[in-house]
């Protein structure tokens, strides 16, 4: 008798990461009453979703996906999201903070755009659902304040994160005990690096938003950042010219806040090669981290992922 599948086995490195992530998914699903998975449509979310499907096979993913839609995501992200949800028969909850349209809060006109449309929206959506656990795709290698994040990250009843008051985490024994109103954010990808994510996407043939691959795309350059000029939501500043070149994105978020890179890497092998020779981190194009040193930590304390 032989294994009945032609796909080559994962290399031991990725297999170990996969096993760990599946273990975490199953622990949370078994211990919490009402978990939810934060789904941002990005590559890490795609890997997270793939792992969730693996963890619970042959059963369905036993919790809904929650997407915080600011209304300013790349169009291709939303199209991709809807296709994945229908292909895999998932339960998706999309939430947009009504203050966005009510108060006309946009990435261009409001200094607290991210706080309101992402952090506040997330808190509200979690409260509405009464979730006691939320999976996220954060990795410890992404950003300095995440290096000390636990696999089970404890949050108070108002979703805040206190770096000095996190529970000790030994071996792979996670403490999921909480009081009513409190919650845990669980991070199955904690020990993955950006390269691991890409190699896993390749090995497992996981679909991702095409924006990660280079293509000729229209864009404007704003303060040295390449902003996709894909639709009328982008208002051109005086003197700004729409250019066109081969660009791709290393991370995906709100299109006016996510910088692209010039690249011709149009398939997964080229993307992996490019990442290995990259001298800047993937978050380099993200405005959110750059406000001031420690800005991610501040956002996390307030309840951002």
């Amino acid at each position: 008798m032989t294994d009945t599948n032609s796909k080559p086995p994962l290399d031991p490195h990725l297999k170990a990461l996969e096993n760990e992530a599946i273990y975490i998914f199953r622990e949370v699903a078994a211990e919490f009453q009402n978990p939810v998975m934060l789904y941002s449509v990005g590559k890490d979310s795609s890997v997270l979703l793939h792992l969730a499907r693996k963890a619970f096979y042959p059963g369905p993913v036993p919790f809904p996906l929650l997407h915080i839609d600011t209304g300013w995501k790349f169009k291709e992200m939303i199209a991709f999201r809807d296709k994945i949800v229908s292909d895999y028969e998932l339960d998706l909850i999309s939430y947009t903070n009504p203050r966005g349209s009510a108060e006309n809060i946009t990435p261009f006109n409001h200094p607290r755009y991210t706080d309101i449309m992402k952090t506040e929206a997330l808190r509200t959506a979690l409260d509405k659902g009464g979730y006691d656990a939320a999976f996220g795709g954060a990795r410890r290698d992404e950003e300095a304040s995440r290096a000390k994040e636990r696999i089970y990250s404890f949050r108070t009843a108002n979703h805040s994160w206190d770096p000095r008051n996190q529970r000790a985490e030994l071996w792979s024994i996670y403490n999921g005990d909480i009081f009513k109103g409190e919650s845990v954010r669980a991070f199955p990808l904690s020990n993955w690096t950006e390269l691991d994510i890409w190699q896993y996407i390749k090995a497992e043939d996981i679909p991702i938003v095409p924006l990660y691959y280079a293509q000729q795309r229209p864009f404007v350059e704003r303060d040295g950042t390449i902003i996709l000029a894909e639709d009328q939501r982008l208002e051109l500043a005086p003197g700004e010219v729409v250019q066109e070149d081969y660009i791709r994105f290393r991370t995906l978020g709100c299109f006016p806040l996510t910088g692209g890179v010039r690249s011709t890497a149009d398939d997964i092998d080229q993307v992996i090669t490019e990442i290995q020779s990259a001298r800047t981190s993937e978050r380099q194009g993200r405005a959110i981290d750059k406000d001031k040193a420690g800005s991610m930590e501040l956002k996390k304390r307030e309840g951002y992922f």
């Binding site: 000390k148 000095r164 030994l170 390269l195």
Partner: protein
């Protein structure tokens, strides 16, 4: 885009295309812990490892340079230590207060470093980092040599079951690359380490700040050192593997998508399994055969240690989360009481007699803790103790009201470890390792082992018996005889 830009773009592209894709890493990531104090240059050492393996990006250096200016430390524009101090609060205080995990890799291997602070009061962080580590890097300042702290670190590392140790003798440049001194410290350490069960000890002279013997050799300054660099040593270090033993499968979750399927989901903690293998379910003792090993990719013909799988059995049995599916031969202990070593992780310590939740992998049940001895880390001796305070390492007896399955920590870290949770706060208050099962039945007649008879009785009556005052008194008298 100007012509020049287009050309350089094209050049970059051809470079990218010509670079072959590296082969996938053929090994499991090595996890290690670093022990030492800020003064020994620990953060600098890790920063150097990250820098020399190109795990640091230019924009991160930019953010770090900004911070360094603020501190006016004047050590230069790039301070390796600043790569590590992740949290703002800590940066302001200039000390690392918690475990941080760092990632770097070489073409051959990936590494996960648990960066833990070296201050004595932070033993709990070291224990946390050590719990998942395959190897420990102990760091000392060549000028001060072996300190009391070094012994403490070696002791904790050894208690946590780490068998491989690398002693990095740092700041070797500050003692003029003195070989005699290096040899002296190495010898001292080897003598000290005799008390612990290390299987491998390597000593390396380094200057982390200059990058000598970290990722690159330094023959010029240290012609006398012919050993490997730290990075080479880490690349070659074997992954710690659990002792070969019977099958262990703590059940995480029951999968029952419809009437046609019932599977038990979990990760294989030891041994291997194939369809047809007979198994026992603990604690109930029921038996069955494995009929299928299911994964997303395929129905497999075998599962080994580390695999996250779903097992299907050949008959309907009542199994719930927290049960353990094990091989019929070579089973774990199944007892009411165990001896264990624990470390207290919160300032409230551990109250003798109080009921705590014990979580061991997937099982959670109430336990009470009797304290026996606490380790004096200054002297390395175990001393009689009545209570357990923060950072204490103690020998205790765990008493359960139901039988629970454990292996010893020495035999299997997964099925021999646990945490204690305070039901009043839900906080994790201790981590622990099983050292020995206490065989209740046998110990009733401890002084006449040859005349012992096996008592069999229904489990509910047995439980009642174990709870009886008569039995408790017997236990107490046995303990006082032992000590």
């Amino acid at each position: 885009m100007s012509v020049a830009e287009k050309i350089s773009q094209a050049e970059l592209q051809s470079e990218i295309q010509s670079a072959a894709l590296p082969a996938a890493k053929n090994s499991i990531p090595l996890r290690f812990i670093t022990c030492g104090s800020v003064d020994d240059g620990k953060s600098t050492l890790i920063g150097r490892l990250l820098w020399d393996t190109k795990a640091v990006f230019d924009d991160q250096v930019g953010a770090i340079e900004k911070l360094s200016d603020k501190h006016e430390n004047g050590v230069g524009s790039l301070e390796f230590a600043n790569l590590l101090d992740g949290l703002q609060a800590e940066q302001e205080q200039g000390i690392t207060i918690d475990v941080a995990y760092r990632y770097f890799s070489t073409p051959n291997r990936s590494f996960i470093v648990a960066d833990t602070p070296g201050h004595a009061q932070y033993t709990k962080n070291m224990v946390t980092g050590a719990s998942t580590a395959d190897l420990a890097v102990l760091l000392i300042d060549a000028r001060s040599g072996i300190l009391e702290q070094t012994r403490r670190h070696a002791n904790v590392v050894s208690l946590m079951g780490i068998k491989q140790v690398i002693l990095v003798i740092n700041k070797i440049d500050l003692i003029d690359y003195d070989q005699t001194r290096f040899d002296e410290i190495s010898e001292q350490f080897k003598t000290l380490a005799e008390a612990f069960n290390f299987t491998s000890i390597t000593t390396i002279p380094t200057s982390a700040i200059k990058g000598e013997n970290v990722a690159f050799t330094a023959r010029e300054n240290m012609p006398w050192y012919e050993g490997k660099t730290l990075l080479e040593t880490l690349e070659l270090a074997p992954k710690s593997t659990p002792r070969s033993m019977g099958f262990r499968f703590p059940v995480q979750r029951i999968s029952r998508p419809d009437e046609s399927f019932r599977g038990y989901q979990g990760t294989i903690a030891a041994g291997s399994i194939k369809p047809g293998d007979p198994v026992t379910i603990l604690p109930s003792g029921q038996q069955a055969n494995v009929s299928k090993i299911v994964t997303f990719d395929l129905v497999r013909n075998a599962g080994v240690h580390g695999d996250a799988v779903t097992l299907v059995l050949d008959r309907q049995i009542d199994i719930s989360r927290g049960d353990m599916i094990v091989s019929n031969d070579d089973q774990p202990s199944l007892e009411f009481s165990y001896q264990a070593q624990i470390i207290a992780l919160t300032e409230h310590g551990i109250q003798p007699g109080k009921q705590y939740w014990l979580k061991s992998n997937t099982r959670k049940q109430y336990v009470s803790v009797d304290v026996a001895e606490t380790l004096n880390l200054e002297t390395g001796l175990w001393e009689t103790a009545e209570k357990i305070e923060l950072n204490d390492l103690s020998k205790v007896q765990l008493n359960f009201t139901n039988r629970i399955a454990f292996d010893t920590y020495q035999n299997n870290k997964t099925t021999g470890s646990f945490i204690l949770i305070d039901p009043d706060t839900n906080n994790t208050i201790a981590g622990g390792m099983i050292t020995q099962a206490i065989d209740n039945v046998k110990s009733i007649t401890p002084n006449t082992p040859n005349a012992s008879t096996t008592i069999t009785m229904p489990s509910d009556i047995a439980e009642e018996f174990y709870r009886s005052e008569f039995y408790q008194k017997y236990q107490d008298s046995i303990e006082s005889n032992d000590s």
